[in-house]
């Protein structure tokens, strides 16, 4: 049944490894950028709030496919923006894809963090201010630690979505799992087994992630 799975010819594990790497770098990037955006959206400076809000609305309502393609065709082919990859096409596609994923996923991280900030009781921040902490200290020492703890579950959802979204990188020629699947179903007449293998691959990636982070979110939840 599985004789079509010629690992010499189809680098199955390599393809999923690319998916994992895409997910990892994009997750780190969007966590950082998303937190900065969330900070902007709750800051006392109106212009920052406006920028954060505009950014989130624009990027959240644009299809991720369009963002990824725009990174490739717009930034690279039209503006020759090569992200320091030079002539290395593989690295180039990978970096452009990560850039697009970060730009898009950060909006969801931002909204998750912001809703987490809203769960922190006002008394916490009032107490912190009564001690004389300034805005950044309140944010860093009191509010964000509590916000992050209540935000593990929504962030887990964002991470799982990101893992599945990395398949879109195949649109700009990154050799990840869905690109390999496309090649395999075109070459082999074994649709069901091939689809089953790739489906299983993604389930192996996302299911433990969900279960583990669900457990973490229960562990660290702020008991109130």
């Amino acid at each position: 049944m599985f004789e079509f799975l010629d690992l010499e010819r189809y680098d199955l594990f390599g393809a999923f490894w690319v998916t994992v790497q895409l997910t990892f770098y994009s997750a780190v990037g969007s966590l950082i950028w998303g937190t900065i955006l969330a900070g902007m959206r709750v800051s006392p400076v109106p212009i920052m709030r406006a920028f954060g809000t505009a950014y989130v609305h624009i990027f959240r309502n644009t299809p991720l496919t369009l963002i990824i393609l725009a990174c490739s065709q717009g930034l690279y082919f039209t503006l020759n923006f090569d992200m320091g990859a030079g002539k290395d096409l593989e690295a180039l596609g990978f970096r452009l894809a990560v850039l697009g994923f970060v730009a898009y996923t950060a909006t969801f991280v931002c909204e998750a963090v912001r809703s987490g900030i809203n769960t922190v009781p006002v008394g916490q921040a009032e107490a912190a201010r009564a001690l004389g902490l300034n805005f950044f200290q309140v944010l860093r020492l009191i509010v964000l630690p509590q916000a992050y703890r209540s935000v593990v579950a929504p962030l887990a959802n964002v991470l799982i979505a990101l893992t599945k979204n990395t398949t879109i990188a195949s649109a700009i020629g990154v050799a990840e799992a869905s690109a390999l699947m496309k090649a395999m179903i075109e070459n082999e007449a074994q649709l069901i087994p091939i689809a089953a293998i790739f489906a299983l691959g993604f389930i192996i990636l996302t299911l433990p992630m969900g279960l583990f982070l669900g457990w973490v979110s229960k562990r660290v939840a702020v008991k109130r």
Binding site: A125, N165, E186
Partner: protein
């Protein structure tokens, strides 16, 4: 603006000065970024009038590429929604069944389709139609896109339906049982009609996800939807950046309208007579091939600051 009060007091004179300073620095930073972008675009001649003019002067851009593309996007989205809703309702009710031999398999199906990228479902559907049906080659991308979207979104909507039914006050079930209704009667006459009002906003929000996902079909299956028109327009006029911007704006406007409608609906239903004041929201993470997962049942009006 509930979060305002959490983080800072009304600013005094010093805080105000500092805020002005931060704002100034931020504006300078933004301006620098905008200047760099403008310079780069200008150096590459992307701001030339001849690249942007066609969208205003040449009606063919709209009639040949953009509007048919938009129509294809909306058609696929509408079809997917119309087919996924009843399926989702059946799956959602199935998950709540008292018989384990119904609820367990249905639960497995729902979880399975939520764990898989929607693109994989589309690729699979595309090949399946090619192998086992005689769908016309030119129609196949559309069939594949809609099938992929239906499989995935039915699972997401199943969770919405489940959450909606579970959000109803327990007294509704008790009362239905007290007057001797069967389980099926209770579902059709008592629970579902009330759950629909709870679920509507979440269902409308899911439309945004579906509209965005149709673009996958354009990029990878050759479905001639709105995003594919970027390539067609820029091939004719050599204006890659301009066509990306215009198409993105169309998408943003469409999705913004849908989102606004969902918020308006939510407000209307909350004030409505038949509502319990509870709403189900799909986790915002639900996006392209969304997250599924997060269903939150929001308590009656919480006075969230700005509703996105």
């Amino acid at each position: 603006m509930s979060d305002l009060s959490v983080l800072y007091d009304a600013p005094g004179p010093r805080a105000r000065r500092r805020n002005v300073l931060i704002a100034t620095l931020f504006v300078i930073l933004l301006a620098a970024g905008a200047w760099w972008l403008y310079g780069t675009l200008d150096d590459n001649g992307e701001l030339d009038a001849r690249k942007w003019d066609p969208f205003v002067t040449d009606s063919r851009v709209w009639t040949t590429y953009l509007l048919p593309g938009l129509q294809a996007t909306l058609t696929a989205a509408a079809l997917a929604m119309v087919i996924a809703l009843p399926l989702g309702a059946i799956l959602g009710i199935g998950r709540l069944s008292d018989h384990w031999w119904i609820s367990k398999p249905v639960g497995a199906i729902v979880e399975f389709f939520r764990a898989i990228p929607v693109l994989l479902l589309m690729l699979f559907a595309n090949e399946a139609y090619a192998m086992w049906t005689d769908v016309d080659r030119s129609d196949r991308p559309m069939y594949a896109v809609v099938t992929g979207l239906v499989l995935y979104n039915a699972s997401v909507l199943a969770e919405v339906v489940k959450a909606g039914i579970l959000s109803l006050p327990k007294g509704q079930r008790d009362a239905a049982q007290a007057i001797g209704m069967r389980k099926s009667q209770m579902m059709t006459f008592v629970l579902l009609p009330q759950a629909v009002t709870v679920m509507l906003p979440a269902i409308v929000s899911q439309l945004v996800v579906i509209v965005k996902d149709t673009a996958l079909g354009g990029a990878l299956l050759g479905y001639s939807e709105l995003m594919r028109s970027v390539g067609l327009v820029s091939a004719n006029y050599g204006n890659v950046i301009a066509s990306f911007v215009v198409v993105a704006v169309i998408f943003i406007v469409v999705n913004f309208l849908i989102t606004s409608f969902a918020s308006w609906l939510e407000g209307k239903l909350r004030r409505g007579k038949r509502s319990t004041g509870v709403t189900v929201t799909v986790d915002p993470g639900a996006q392209v091939g969304g997250v599924g997962g997060g269903m939150a049942v929001a308590a009656p009006p919480s006075g969230d600051g700005e509703k996105a």
